[in-house]
Amino acid sequence: MGINKNKFSFCMLIFLLFLQMYSVLALYEDEIGKHDWTRQFVGRVQHLEFDLPAGTTTRQRSQQLQGGSSSRRLFVATDHNVLAAIGLKSSRIIWRHFLEDAPVNGIKLCDGALFSMSNGLLRSWSTSRGILNYEISVQEQLEAKFAGSLACHEDPDDDRSLVFASTARRLVAVAPLTGALEWAANLDAGSGENHSEVTSFPNPDGLTVVTFDPTAGKMRLHRFGTESGVAKRTATVKAEWLTSLQRCAISVSTLACLDPAGSIRLLSLSSGSDFKPLPPSLAEQLGHAGPWQSVEEIGGQDLFQLTTNSGAVVAMLDASLATGPTGESLPAGSLLRYRGQVRFLLRQQGDGGGGVTLEASSSSSLVASNKISLSFASHHGRVSQLYPVTFVRKGGSSYGYRVVMTTRDADLHAFDDTGERQWMREESLAGIVSVEAVDLPSADEDELVTPGGSVFSSFAQRLSGQVHHFIHVLQHLMLCWRARPASQADSLGEFGYPDEAPAPPASAASSSGSGAGSLIRDEFNLHKLLVVATKDGKLAALDSATGRSVWRLMIPMPAAAAVAEGTAADSARTEARIEPLADGQMPLYIQRTTAHFPLEPMATVLCRDSSTGRPVLFSFNPITGIGIGLAQRLQSRLLQALLVPQPSHDNGQYIRPLMLLSDTLQVTLYPAKTALPHGFKSLNLYTIDRDNRLLQGYRLRLTEQQQQMSAISTWRLALHEPILVTAARRPTEQVHSVGRVLGNRHVLYKYLNPNLLAVATLAKDMVTPAPQIGDAYTQITIWLIDTVSGRVVASATHHHSSGPVSLVHSEHWLVYSLWNQKQRRFQLSVWELFAGNGLRDCMNATQPIVGKQSYILPAPVQHLAVSQTERGITAKSVLLALRSGGIMELSKAFLDPRRPFDMTPEFQEEGLMPYHPEVPMSTQAIVNYNQSLHRVEGMVTVPTGLESTSLLFVHGTDLFCTRVQPSKMFDVLKADFDYAFIAAVTIGMIIGSFVTQRLAARKALFRLWS
């Protein structure tokens, strides 16, 4: 082109500056995964099948196994209703399907295809690609809750296989390959309508189906052959004492059930017409008398494992009592499984973790009996399920085996027969319930100095802080030097499944140093730690840059001695687990940030103990994952827990105390020794009682003696209707501007009340007439409540609407989505609140002016979130998690109640868009491009050091983290910015201005002379 730079440099400069303002809207292929990461999970495994039936001896199958050993896989069905194939070697998800919102009743491999039973539907899947072969509705009539059962009948003699699928009302026998219905039979499930249960077990000549109607306490037994749907035997058995078939185990010829007292009762499936208790003489042979906690079928001929608090017994229980129980005592926590001839016994001591041994023994000489010890970190907890598989080794002379097991934290582990762990999938992360982002430590010493101290003490504090910091840096460097060769070897561990070292001992902080080596705050504070708590009581920290788990920690159970009601707790000790609070939450509180350098940061999790229901508090260092002190069980139930807004400066601890309000209105602080911040007077808080549909406000204040806190209930609202969701403004949210400038230069002041709570309730719609088909309409009411004064600020009802409702409240606006039953579409509504007569206090303010507008949302939405930036200058974006798997970023400008129908110059000047009833959906606005995220449970946005950028973390079955820039990157120059050229031009212009100044001066001088 030959542009003369010297001539047009100034124009070019302006032009280039304009060019820089445009940022790239599309994503290039090499940018995938640069600023974001995804991790895919399946959830806690509930059913597992290996790609070949265990213990097969057929020659043909063993060859098949050898030939295709590289593609060996396991099929799982999980609590997220996911059906997936996982590579047995690679641990990768080969394919994955999200089934409907109904539990998977079972999966079975039959004749080379995978079968699943859920929601009354039998489905056949191709094992290699996961393609649906066919789908059969077992029962024509749809029911709200389906019980189901699945069995496979494979006859080694003839080639005829059958898949049996049953609901509580109907049984079908299907040819596995074609899906042709061989025969069907109606099961009489009794009057229990939707609550009947069903279980089945194949026997040598067919199938046994047992249905149970808990309302009538009646059990029905059916024995079918393979050739026809005429039952060979039916019997009705009374079992009023039984609560659920889950307390039973079925095997070839016996059904063993536990009665409420914990003793065992047996029913012979071939001849029995009534349950028989175990005779005392035989019960003695078992070694334990009970009461039994659970009974399990373990894969043998009428072999059951009976478990008590202190141990377990394996017994062959035959209902005809022809052969007595041959009891074998096992220590507590043992698991026994049979695979054909091979017997797998897993023993674990205490809380698991480390002390796990596996014994494989066989009557046949093909499998070498051996005892191996399996090691995994203690944060996984006990082994909860064991899935062994045997296979023929190359050459066909001997057998080998693999074990896959799930631990209490829902992680999935695979071990080979030498005891070496092959892989581990962190399935616990599919159950995240709460997330808190923690800033990484930095060298910022500004906050080290206590405000209000004298000059000298401040100076001394600063010096000591600097020295501490210097020592820390030196230690860190040494650690890095020492850990270098080891970390190179570790880097073999593939992304997302890092090889795991045993948990660092709490005393030696140095061993965790190698893991935390890269954990230093970056320039713009974009790199953070995401501390998460899962529903299984596990804590973990994810690196926001890579998604890797930095540390993992199981919340320890508080010591039993601390329990007052010792006996009650003892009886259920084996069952006691850490679980989320009643509302499914497990809040995390950052009590001390990383800003107070020599002091460790501190976070606290609030959960509860499943056996007593008492709240449990546990503190830990969010950067290293090392527990601070022991877990504490509180003696009283909590109404609310809240972090005091300011840190207490007492003793230089900088801990923000956690204020706990018990149900007896006692106020305590955690940690107990922390003092309240100076100048603390009172605190208002509120509770949401979903069971009684009540909202209640409390005021906590210091008593006259300045020692004790007292609480008093200030207001109470009775909503009468079930509470669906609530949303409040984030306490840390920054609002940049208090008003909106209109086109006519007037200012519309925002109604900025930090105490607003938005509540959505559901009720019957009395106004809209019921539709001709289906249920009557419901209505959703949105309430905006001031939580200090208990005032209803605004409320509005949406007729013929239902959930899912998702609410987002930020600044002065509220956005929510709901389902319109009449129009059959999703709807997005926005409210903006403006102060009527200037700014007033929250107690006596007049009602704000509420502007409202609604839009059609052309896609189903699961969750809403809003972007958060450090100063609140950047425009806000609403993030929508769509059911289709996309996360859509929608500028708040599209959701503005002031969008007019008729544009005037004034509106144009204000920058308003004309109203359009539909929300624009563009593929470019999908921030996760093609990485679909399923079953999104929550979205968390975190401000970063860059005003333009906020971090978005999405959790659910999949995890996803990316950067969101609602106003694009206005505060960062692009990577390919031409610094040299700009510098040259600037210097050139400066020199030019000097020269021209000189020349002008000379010219002026000449003019004066002349």
């Binding site: 007077k681 009172s682 005021r699 008093i712 209930s713 200030t714 207001w715 109470r716 609202l717 009775a718 909503l719 009468h720 209707e721 007037h746 309730t761 009720a763 009395m766 209505q779 959703i780 009411t781 949105i782 309430w783 004064s789 208990g790 005032r791 209803v792 409320s795 509005a796 009802t797 949406h798 007729h799 609407s801 319109n820 709807q827 509504s829 403006f834 009527g836 007569n837 007033r840 206090d841 107690m843 006596n844 303010a845 007049t846 009602q847 002016i849 502007g851 409202k852 507008q853 609604s854 839009y855 059609i856 109640p897 129908f901 008729d902 109203y915 359009h916 009833p917 539909e918």
Partner: protein, 240 residues
Amino acid sequence: MGLKDIITFAFAAILFSVYSTTAQSINDDEFGQVLQFTLEHELVKGKFTKRGILSVHSYSSEHVLYRDEAPLTDEDVLSLIKLAEARDIYRARVLFKVGNKVEYVYGFVYACDLLHSGLRDNLTLAFNSHGSLVGLHLSLTDSSKAAFESCTVKSGHLSPASLPRVFISHAAALRPVQGPAPETQIYIARVEEEKKRKHEAEQGDNRPLVMKYWMYIVPVVLVFMVMSAQDPNAQGGGGS
């Protein structure tokens, strides 16, 4: 700004209507069922005593009547002063029945502020769309004088004799409004209008294309003609 005016006007109208109606003027048959709620207040901690009656017309909008039933005794005034001295709150509750159970909702103001305002307060009852009582909010009629926690009453400064014995209260009801719905009708009407206008504009000028745009076509044709006239020379020059 229009919206603001309307709201202010509406608010004034509500206040006016509350002022103007008297206790006897409402005919039950005209307005349907009249709901009566008992208002109780807490002058001594933990002990609620009757204060008055609130009458609401279940499905009418904002009309609430308040009738003071139990004027304060000297003792009551003293306990109110005691509450104020302790910087405590004054709670009032409204009772209602759910099935056979008596439930209640309550709200509060600072006792000290209430004393300073001369027992003038606003009572706002919030209802849900089915007409059930959801909440009670108390506020001072003159909210600009409220001092909340910093409000103080010096001992002996207020004498019971100087205080009024009757509450001067204004009551109002707040009910959920209709939620917003997508304005498809208006939008479609606008689009249709626009289309019609465009159509009319097009119909007004139905001359042929050449006649309409001759001023653009002629220069282009001219340029082409000039270019094609020069071309043979250029080619000839290149080829030789």
